[in-house]
Symmetry: C2
Subunit: 474 residues, 2 copies
């Protein structure tokens, strides 16, 4: 493992103009170095002599030249984010000044921090475990109530504490079992086989629960994929716009915040949905259509929910807005619906009937009522709330309790799946009453996988992979 001795600096706040910007230094020399360039406004006291967690008004000076009037916050080791001496300098929010102050320290023995280096140091100094460190990045990236909650839970250690506890119990038994091997000829049993079998069962169940939670956890983090199937003129983009108006969760009061509206990515009642536009499924007339249909099915495969959007006039043969052209649409719809239901019985299918404002008569086909039907007018924004409620219910119904531990990180899922596999081998070996030495390989493998999650077992490569995705300054 690398040992970090040097002092690092980075801008901790977003780049750009604002009222203030915060530069953060960490390292054993951080307070010393800042003190050399700081002059208190009211009394000049060495920053080494002030209390931890105290704030000081003064000037950052490059020789005689004043760079800025600043607030300096002192955090003394080990009571800081990184566990090292940390200084936060709150400067005026001009990129020019931030750069000047940054340069001053870079000239004076401080190194620019690498991406995620503050959090990496926090991990290496035992301030948090690896899954908590990973949660910091997730928290910063969180943009919906559910991704935010997942990240916060993970950061507070709910999940890794459970893993750590199970791992410690397993280590206890593993050491007893390894001890038996040393006394193999005497045929003793230090580890109570009954207790051990119980523990393995408990671990298996917990791991299974966690592995299973990834399906929802990942979806909550990345967005619930919803495939929308519908004719080009059925009102897909009008519907997406109407849904966008329901999106009250995201930033409107923060001055200067603009949101890149990705047409297909909406946060509804705190849950992120990823709308996937598809071409629709027809009886293929030619090669190109065949490719389109294959792609549509691939996209439906990715989705958790299939929203079938159809024109109310097409559905209702007695309505005065129903035309001959609608016949083809209606037929195609019925065929497609059947195909999807057959091919993907596990998908939730929502039939959304649009343009109900045009309807004077209603005689929807009988078989439609096998699925939840939501009638809307995207144009007049009627029925939209009901659609949102149906979508969010799919996620919320009993599955998102406040304190439930949920895995949302692909790396954790991978490690948990491997641990589960090893533990199932151990379980099988116990059931088959195989000799002890055959257990130990799988127990070690399980311990390794579990240790990787919390960072009790790491490699430089693993750490590099995790922290290079952080922003600089965190």
């Amino acid at each position: 493992m690398k040992i970090y001795q040097d002092t690092i600096i980075a801008l901790a706040t977003p780049a750009g103009s604002g009222a203030i910007g915060v530069l953060r230094l960490s390292g054993s020399d951080a307070i010393n170095i800042v003190d050399k360039h700081f002059e208190g406004k009211f009394k000049t006291k060495n920053l080494n002599d002030v209390a931890s967690h105290s704030i000081h008004l003064g000037f950052i000076k490059d020789g005689e030249r004043v760079l800025d009037e600043v607030l300096v916050s002192i955090f003394k080791t080990p009571h800081s984010y990184t566990g090292e001496n940390v200084v936060e300098i709150s400067v005026h929010g001009s990129p020019y000044i931030q750069q000047q102050v940054l340069q001053l320290f870079l000239k004076n023995g401080v190194r620019h921090a690498k991406a995620g280096e503050f959090t990496l140091r926090a991990f290496l100094n035992g301030k948090m475990d690896l899954s908590q460190a990973e949660a910091v990045a997730d928290l910063i990236a969180s943009d919906s109530a559910s991704s935010h909650q997942l990240a916060l839970q993970q950061m507070r250690g709910n999940f890794s504490n459970e893993i750590k506890k199970l791992r410690e119990e397993l280590i206890h038994f593993a050491s007893l079992i390894e001890l038996e091997l040393d006394f193999a000829e005497e045929d003793v049993e230090f580890a109570d086989r009954k207790q051990f079998a119980d523990l393995v069962q408990r671990i298996k169940q917990t791991l299974k629960k966690l592995v299973d939670s990834f399906a929802l956890g990942n979806v909550l983090k990345e967005g619930v994929p919803v495939a929308i199937i519908g004719e080009p003129n059925v009102g897909k983009s009008t519907l997406l716009n109407a849904l966008l108006n329901e999106d009250k969760a995201i930033v409107s009061n923060i001055a200067g915040t603009t949101r890149d509206v990705i047409e297909d990515d909406l946060v509804l009642d705190g849950i992120r949905f990823r709308f996937i536009d598809t071409a629709g499924i027809r009886v293929a007339q030619d090669e190109i259509e065949k490719i389109g249909i294959r792609k549509t099915f691939e996209k439906i495969k990715e989705a958790k929910v299939v929203v079938f959007l159809i024109d109310a006039c097409a559905l209702s043969q007695s309505a005065s807005c129903h035309t001959d052209q609608h016949e083809a649409v209606l037929q195609a719809f019925e065929t497609e619906l059947q195909k999807i239901a057959q091919k993907y019985p596990e998908k939730k299918i929502l039939i959304v009937v649009n343009k109900i404002d045009k309807l004077d008569q209603k005689d929807y086909p009988e078989e439609l009522y096998k699925y939840p039907i939501i009638e809307i007018s995207a144009k007049y924004k009627t029925g939209i709330e009901k659609l949102v409620a149906q979508l969010t219910d799919l996620v919320n119904k009993g599955q998102l309790a406040q304190n439930e531990v949920m895995v949302s990180n692909a790396r954790h899922f991978q490690a948990l799946s491997e641990a589960l596999e090893s533990i199932m081998q151990v379980d099988a070996a116990i059931q088959a009453q195989l000799p002890t030495d055959l257990l130990t390989v799988d127990i070690r493998a399980a311990l390794h996988s579990l240790g990787e999650i919390t960072g009790e077992i790491t490699t430089d490569d693993l750490l590099d992979n995790i922290f290079r995705n952080f922003c600089i300054g965190k």
Copy 2:
């Protein structure tokens, strides 16, 4: 004057994702309100009972729901930026979380701050005078060494202290003189006329110096205007690009910072230059050309410096690259140069000879040497440093001493000019030994103008005008 009783909040750091974001609250209730939603991580102590300038780790909670793990900094009245109770909440740098925490406080009796409201409160609470408050906005907007230095000086009060001192002395005399008027029939003189005349001289000289400093101060803040005259293919944009490469002052290490490169706006050695492209001046052939020429002269009028860019091959008749076409260019150049020198004798003219890499022979016309000549090859970036040195020398030569007081604010310039005019009236009246009551009107006018600079005299309109240009959160 409005009295502010309520508690305000705003994001103090730039919008967007970063490691952290800072929300700032100010108002008598700020600490109380934050305390209600804060739970310390290690011990729960009422935030009203902690020391000023101390930092506390804990959670911001909306009821039972944790919104974020935060650092809370407490500043108690009057030892804060605004003079009121101030709390800074350092949250994780996700716009979603910032918005959530902001909304929590907006729901609980805190109002969103208006632009500049924190600084306005600082002014109203006597933490800084008006010119210092204005300097805060300038400081945040500063993007070159010189604009930065001007703003810092102004914020530290160098300039307003001088004004305040003179104004106080003037008030002293004014009150004595007004007293004389009360005893007009007795014909006494409370104010020593000799001392008074001396003071008026001193004020006049100081005001004159300050009014004169605006020409340079404004230019340093807004950029030194440089008119570039040259044929379309003489290499203007190559030159601007070469200059841009010299621009090492601005932000390169801050991750995510991109700079909008305005072709004509460059910071060279810490000084901002505004390059103004002109059409060049020829003997007009038609109406359209006449308009072009008039515009060129207008632009030259704006400029402090005229850079005349010319092709080395055109200048040097013996060079092998000299062609017949160059004859016309050379003639036009000589005519233009004369015209400009005649029309604007006060402008600094720099002749920049480009494309010297092509030159095998050199016989520049004699009269060229009346002006500073800089030979460059914009393409090969030779001579660029010399050009930069010439440009920056124009500003630096003795005019930008570290501690010289300089006016850069148009409002101050206006008020100073008015004060100067009034003081000159007073001076004239003293010289002409006019009766005392004729002095008082002008003295009052001078006091008013000086008071407007530091904010001893303000109106709501004036304050609105100043602070609405601030960013929200400052």
